[in-house]
């Protein structure tokens, strides 16, 4: 089936070539990091995790989000998602690849990485995160690829795929819960030390992940003959807005606990992020942008009239993605490390090199997603399912 990714329009080749070029160019910076160490990043003794781990955390959410399509389809037999299921699974594969990439670039001695397997340590959450992420990758590859191949051969899906799909649904919740456990069990990091962190992670994943997925699907519709069922898209948008409401609600619960109790440790990270602490206001504009975009996305997504407007939808989803990204891809990490264990503020900002290495991982993810989506759309075209009316065939990619 992979051969379908080898034949495409000049536009398709141009995009693949562009991604390969970005990966190759950016990997030269990664080689610099391998030679000189993580000193090329903005991380420090006090902020010892930075942009890489933050992107990892955000993308685990994207990986888990496919479940918002797979769960209604398998558990509730919601057939309108039939044509979207494969994209949810393939997006998860791309996301997990990026997650693993961000872990690899973040560790100081990547050639010793297999020590995690050679000395398995069940009391370390990182060990479990490795297990659940790799497991999730295998589950999605197995189900996604097998089902697509069967569709192509006009064969019914084997029975075991259903079992594996059920497992992958539960598994999706576990990957983001375990990722939250990486943070929420650490004594002395008060911004993370909260029982609701895992629930917040899931809520933010289930709005931002499907939002990214829907944006990519809309792009796919533009570039290929694929056409998603309108009702399925509308339902997914509804799921996104519910999850975003829960996400905002959970965050406000944190704010209440911190400020009504008036306990400095609980308030300080939030004060640092939204007001500035000890004269450090680096993140304040970003956090308020997140607030504005988050509330803006709700305003544009809650009224059914605005939500069902397909011209407006990409913008609503776009600002939702930006809001959740600032919250989880920036604020969570930097706010968690500040104030430091010495009750001081240690500002952090990623360096250009750090961003270029991150770009390398993002481009790799985009490459994986492009190839998988290309295969999926080609198969659908071959089968003649979920296709646009014949008129628009000339736009085929």
């Amino acid at each position: 089936m992979l051969e379908k990714a080898l034949k495409g329009s000049p536009k398709y080749y141009l995009w693949i070539g562009f991604l390969l070029l970005v990966i190759a160019g950016a990997s030269s910076v990664y080689i610099t990091q391998l030679i000189h160490g993580l000193t090329i990043t903005g991380m420090s003794r006090d902020v010892s995790w930075g942009f890489y781990i933050a992107q990892f955390t955000y993308l685990v959410g994207l990986a888990a989000s496919g479940v918002m399509i797979v769960l209604p389809y398998y558990f509730h037999h919601y057939k309108k998602f039939k044509d979207l299921v494969i994209f949810g699974e393939f997006m998860a594969i791309g996301a997990v690849v990026m997650c693993l990439g961000f872990i690899v670039v973040d560790i100081g001695q990547p050639q010793r990485m297999l020590n995690v397997l050679l000395f398995p340590t069940p009391n370390s959450i990182l060990f479990w995160d490795m297990v659940v992420l790799n497991g999730y990758l295998i589950l999605n590859l197995l189900v996604g690829w097998t089902c697509l191949e069967c569709d192509r051969q006009h064969m019914p899906h084997p029975k075991w795929t259903k079992v594996v799909a059920y497992v992958s649904i539960i598994w999706a919740f576990s990957i983001h819960t375990v990722t939250a456990f990486l943070y929420q069990g650490l004594p002395g990091r008060h911004y993370w030390l909260t029982a609701i962190l895992a629930a917040r992670f899931l809520a933010s994943a289930f709005c931002s992940g499907p939002a990214i997925l829907l944006l990519v699907i809309m792009l796919t519709e533009k570039l290929t003959t694929f056409k998603a069922e309108a009702e399925g898209v509308a339902t997914l948008a509804k799921i996104i807005v519910y999850a975003m409401c829960v996400n905002v609600f959970f965050f406000l619960l944190e704010v209440f606990s911190a400020f009504y109790s008036n306990i400095p440790e609980h308030m300080n990270s939030l004060i640092y992020l939204f007001k500035g602490l000890d004269g450090h206001t680096e993140l304040v504009p970003y956090m308020w942008t997140a607030v504005a975009f988050g509330l803006g996305s709700l305003a544009l997504l809650i009224p059914p009239k605005l939500r069902d407007n397909r011209k407006l939808l990409p913008w609503s989803l776009g600002i939702l993605v930006i809001a959740t990204w600032i919250d989880k891809g920036l604020g969570l990490l930097i706010g968690g490390f500040n104030p430091s264990p010495f009750d001081t503020v240690a500002p952090y900002w990623p360096t250009g090199k750090e961003l270029i290495v991150s770009l390398m991982i993002y481009a790799t993810g985009a490459l994986v997603v492009t190839i998988l989506f290309k295969v999926a759309t080609e198969v659908k075209q071959e089968l003649g399912v979920s296709q646009k009316p014949a008129v628009s065939l000339e736009t085929e990619a």
Binding site: H36, G37, L38, T39, T41, M43, S44, R45, D46, S48, W49, I103, D106, I107, G108, Q109, P110, R112, M113, N115, V116, L118, F119, T121, N123, S124, I125, L126, F127, M130, L182, Y183, L186, P187, G188, R189, E265, F337, S340, P341, F342, D343, T344, A346
Partner: protein
């Protein structure tokens, strides 16, 4: 003997078997011998430290301890925020989570020597995915620099900021003509911290900072009621850093 392929292969097979047996034999012999232990090694059930902050309470006096420690362990002197430190000076508010709006003048001015607390329940050991950081039976939290993958999970987990990461090649920031040959240097990409001088205890010596402190620091067995540390703890009011987190630090401060 004719030079046939068959004979050649037989010979090679025998030679390979001999090599295997030889190396296996020596490996077994080494395993039986175990590590070499000096007869005068200092031993304890639970090592602990008591710091008399009335005697060592200024930046200058603590710098003396840091100098001794950092020389003994080849700790690089990096001038950026990606620095490495095993023991250092900090103010009362930085060291303890018991802020006082109207503290007395002595506390306001006093500096406190901070180092790894060698906790009884160390969060860094709990989170390490490779057991590169581990707790010895005598309570010391030690590091295996050759197993550490540099994930820095231990740094996020330590509530005392006791751990440093080698963001860059540490040997560039060491005086290579003035190294302590008894202790290894590190490579970049691994985490390190105070090791309560396990290397010196094994040779019957007190920790480097204790030796340099003129009696302001005491080191001994917390489980022995007659030890010097227990005597000091009986006679003085002491506090520990962040006791509410339940890590049970092994470093006590006389106030």
């Amino acid at each position: 003997m004719s030079h046939t392929r068959r004979n050649f292969l037989k010979f090679m097979g025998l030679a390979a078997a001999g090599l295997c047996a030889g190396s296996a034999g020596s490996a077994l012999a080494a395993a039986e011998a175990g590590p070499v232990r000096a007869a005068d090694a200092l031993k304890a059930k639970r090592w602990a430290m008591v710091i008399d902050t009335t005697k060592v309470g200024t930046k200058e006096t603590i710098d003396v301890l840091a100098k001794a420690c950092h020389h003994a362990h080849n700790v690089p002197d990096i001038p950026t925020k990606q620095n490495v430190k095993w023991i250092w000076a900090a103010s009362y508010d930085e060291a303890f989570d018991q802020p006082n709006d109207h503290g007395n003048d002595a506390m306001e001015k006093r500096e406190f020597a901070l180092l790894c607390n060698h906790c009884t329940h160390p969060p860094c050991v709990r989170v390490c995915p490779t057991q590169a950081t581990f707790q010895r039976p005598d309570g010391i939290v030690a590091m295996d620099y050759h197993r550490c993958i540099g994930c820095r999970y231990c740094m996020a987990a330590c509530p005392f900021g006791a751990r440093s990461f080698n963001f860059m090649e540490p040997r560039l920031y060491l005086d290579l003509n003035n190294l302590n040959k008894e202790f290894p240097t590190r490579m970049r990409g691994v985490v390190e911290k105070c090791n309560f001088c396990v290397d010196r205890l094994a040779h019957g010596k007190q920790p480097a900072c204790v030796e340099a402190s003129n009696g302001a620091l005491a080191f001994g067995d917390l489980s022995d009621p007659n030890s010097e540390v227990r005597k000091l703890l009986r006679e003085h009011y002491t506090i520990r850093r962040k006791p509410s987190l339940g890590t049970e630090p092994g470093v006590y401060y006389i106030i």
